[in-house]
Symmetry: D2
Subunit: 348 residues, 4 copies
């Protein structure tokens, strides 16, 4: 079996660490180059002590020529804004890129501008494929530039897409109440992620339609529904390191039952080994997926109030970021989607 040479750019954060953890165990990948900016010159194991004795490569500054010489495919784990320029260079040089930032996820440049500001490389948007294999597997296969989805959109879309695809719910009035672990905020320390301000408490943030991931979720749900969909999206910070739980609310169509919801999801994800549909009556739990590339989705119907409640649980750093990126890589390489990703959750 041939081996793909990959580079990781932006390797010093949590998604970088998770990419390395997964890629170093991937049987068809060689990690050929690891780039970082501030931490350049250090060894990977100094920046990520979990990799001591596993990877002692030196972190080098990004240089296009060096990346081009070393790698065929590049994972880019930089912040949005910073990512577009480097991804642009890589794409211009003919390298296939998996970008974990938000820069190439939105198809409509005006939507990008509304949420993020001017786009540095709007010319590439038309070529980028949204890297959710469960929805865009065929396009990913041939893609030169894959925009790996954010953690909230992955969890939200996987839960709701089957309901919209089968018209089991009214697409108006959707509410997504999402609960995230703290790694979703990245590795840089802030007052709000200081341990004593986070442990033993829960709070929402950016309520009232302010979170940028809203735009991604709406884009993907609109594609599935075939018409414009808007959501009320409420992110919460939970005192745990990893995991996203989505509890989404929709008005039921007549005749919608838990079983029909489950069937819709089973059908939509029939070729998607990362997604499991929970039994009727079973509640999703982020513990069950922590450290794995798996997504659990489940459904409840409240017949007293005519509501369908859709749930999903993922690990935000794996299925919500680095694992999903590697899953896309597998699709691009024609491998089984689970290659290097078959491990069960580290439970408990």
């Amino acid at each position: 079996m041939s081996v793909a040479r990959v580079a990781v750019v932006g390797a010093s954060g949590y998604t970088g660490a998770e990419l390395l953890r997964i890629l170093l165990g991937h049987p068809s990948v060689e990690v050929a180059l690891v780039c970082a900016h501030k931490e350049a010159g250090k060894r990977v194991s100094q920046v990520h002590p979990s990799l001591r004795g596993i990877c002692d490569a030196e972190l080098v500054p990004f240089e296009l020529a060096r990346v081009r010489d070393a790698a065929d495919i590049v994972f880019c784990a930089l912040p949005h804004g910073a990512s577009a320029g480097i991804v642009g260079q890589l794409a211009d040089a003919g390298l296939r890129v998996l970008d974990l930032s938000a820069d190439f996820r939105l198809r409509d440049v005006s939507v990008y501008r509304h949420w993020y500001g001017e786009h540095p490389r709007a010319d590439l948007l038309a070529h980028a494929v949204y890297g959710c294999p469960e929805l865009h597997r065929d396009a990913i296969r041939e893609a030169a530039l894959v925009a790996v989805p954010g953690c909230y959109p992955t969890a939200s879309v996987l839960a709701l897409a089957p309901l919209l695809a089968r018209d089991l719910v009214d697409s108006r009035g959707l509410v997504v109440d999402a609960k995230s672990g703290v790694t979703g905020a990245g590795r840089a320390p802030t007052q709000g992620t200081h341990f004593p301000e986070t442990a033993e408490g829960i709070r929402a943030y950016k309520l009232g339609g302010q979170h940028r991931h809203t735009s991604e979720i709406e884009q993907e749900l609109s594609l599935v529904a075939g018409h414009d969909v808007r959501i009320t999206f409420s992110p919460h910070l939970v005192p745990m390191s990893r995991g996203i739980l989505v509890t989404a609310y929709a008005s039921s169509r007549d005749g919608t039952t838990v079983d029909r919801c489950r069937e819709a999801a089973s059908a939509m994800y029939a070729s998607s080994p990362s997604v499991a549909v929970l039994e009727a009556g079973e509640h999703a739990d982020t513990l069950w997926v922590r450290g794995s590339n798996r997504a659990h989705v489940g459904y409840f119907v409240d017949s007293r109030t005519g509501r369908v409640i859709a749930q999903s649980a993922i690990d935000n750093l794996v299925k919500g970021a680095s694992g999903q990126a590697v899953q896309c890589l597998n699709v691009m390489l024609g491998l089984d989607e689970r290659t290097g990703l078959s491990g069960a959750a580290v439970y408990p």
Copy 2:
């Protein structure tokens, strides 16, 4: 100042411990008797080591005569079902009772039957007052039997009542997504509250209209709204010991703004020192109220989707149980509501 002699029945659980913590620091209360069943014969400080050196009273089995001799007012912190019989005896004997169970919270016996089964002392329902001072202060003042609300209803009703009272939202289609700390499940260990099954994960339970507190919330919101209100209620278990955060969703009426919501709450809670209305843009956090009898409420409007998002944060064992019971006692005794309850949250 005269001192009320109180008894605590059912003192071995978490709400019992919290009652003792608060009552032992209350300047107008003497804890005259402490009853428990399984733990009878032990000292309070053996069952609650946090009270070592503070309360060494012996736990005694419940006997009506003994309670009647020792106390004027009784706090009953027993499980629902078990509570009704003992509360009935106490009420028959002419003692004023503050019951922390669900047994006397519902006005309609058929609603009780639907959610809990046959009522052992339905005759007392008409005499019981729902112990939320913010809504029923005058009735509590004269009450012989106060049914102290559950933790979820307290948080849910405080957040939503001002909106319904002023018709700022449509009362149809309300969604209450609630997140609770683990003490809400009581002191008895279970598989689901075993540390490794709870830490580092979040999950919902009883989705789809199965949680009994739904009935209480609907009763109180219906009273405020002046017509029947139904809610979709989704409880979640969060890896923290104390606290409830409610994020509630309602369809906005035309012209509803964050400021109008805040004004409605400020007006409704003008005489309620336990409730604070957060600033516009401020998100509630259970950390800010932990260990205190305070409730924080706040509002957001998502103009893109026409939603009002109401938030509240309380400590489930204080404002959601034992603190609220003492607040009711203060009202019954004609004291300042804050007596013995003025402490700030233990933060962080």
Copy 3:
């Protein structure tokens, strides 16, 4: 009863918040002035949302004249180094000061220099009293400058002092293995206190005799023992917000038993209502003291190895800082030591 007018200087950190929480509930204290540097101009409730509706005073910059006009006694909760200058001004102006920093805890200026560098106000060292009422109650009563002990020294000294006072252990070879909650590191966010780097893991820091608190512990134990005592001190960071647990190891003298250790502690702390001696066989738990000014101490003897194991548990922000400061204030004012500090732990 007369009321003392106090000022709090350095009110924006965790010990400042805790001072305010306690002082605002103290019946013989008026919080007359609250000073902070960076946060000056904000209201206390903006900086400490737990005080919303309880204290809305404005934080003002420190000015000697203003403090002198407003207050008789000053709590100073500044970092070491920064504290000495301001404490010096206050002392020169004749104000009684309770300093929570390390600046005036060491009697020997050369020891200070070794661990902290040059002392800015060494002239005041002779006048300062080490603010552990259990050891220095009489001196505190008359003190003009009280140096409130650090959290580690409080826990370590309370556990070991009775053993050394009665010569129940060899004072050579003492080991103090201490475990602290994260608030011990202060309010400023750092990489090492970022939630994901702290939750679900435990680590030591400054092993091998590097932690500055070593000097305080040795000073106080030497005083008790009557000769120089050295300790091996190993601090650890535990994924919890509050609490210090000390497990200390000493070589047993012949004939030392658990009961003799417990008797020694009971005798030493007979007039100390904040300290409780645990039963034989009982293990200390930081949960039992969280949010309270209480210290639990306990003893085990391993007869197989000739070791005495001494334990203590405190809340680092209360008995390890702000509560102890108020306890000293009570001693200075001739009040019952427990005034404003009688509350039980917020458990669980």
Copy 4:
């Protein structure tokens, strides 16, 4: 490459779940049979939801004939006492067994009797090999019965063995202060592992020489030292799910430095890919090894007090139980020790 057929007996607990997680990803193993007692009849994925979509085998009751037909090698993850009988049957039937209980770890039956009571199958003790590959690799290779060490002994012995082997410390007066995550207490819920009794607190248990693992640690350290060694062993419960941190204290020999300690460990573990020796000045952290089969060891010297401080960090369920069992299996099968175990920690 040939594939070993293995059975797992006692698959419903946490070590069972972890065995399955690891074995299902092991390239040279087929999980042929999964046995459980109470949960027999259920599917593995019902008992361990983390395995949904990964393993849907049915749990069957243990029957010797069935195991013998299906498997060549058996992992036994039963409680001590219960294990000996079944391991005995398997051994009598000629199957190779890896036992994760304490039943065959002690060489001296009188030591077993002292700590555990009468041994049900003392005849097998002479044939059992202590399953720590770092110390007994050659014996494990040919063993019919491997007694996989407990979590505390693994961490303690790996830290201290190099020091004793090189006589860098006095073997008298060793202190092992160990801190464990809650999964070490197993899957059955108890009062002491109920979330609210464990979160946000730390406590020791079985202080004073009461913990049974003491005997294992002393046995192995005595073997390394060449003479009887006794330790003071103090286990603590930390609010985290996984991980053991050991901080061990020993009196230094003259001339012992951090570098000599590190060299001793590097030499002893030169052929042991699971063990990494930390840099001088670096503190071990359980976060860095969580979910992996790795052990980190490190050393400090306190020259003021003549103490060597040895540290180690492992994941109690992996290197402290199931991972180590699979590592032994690899040795028995002549495979690279890391096979199926090469993954990095799931960090953070």
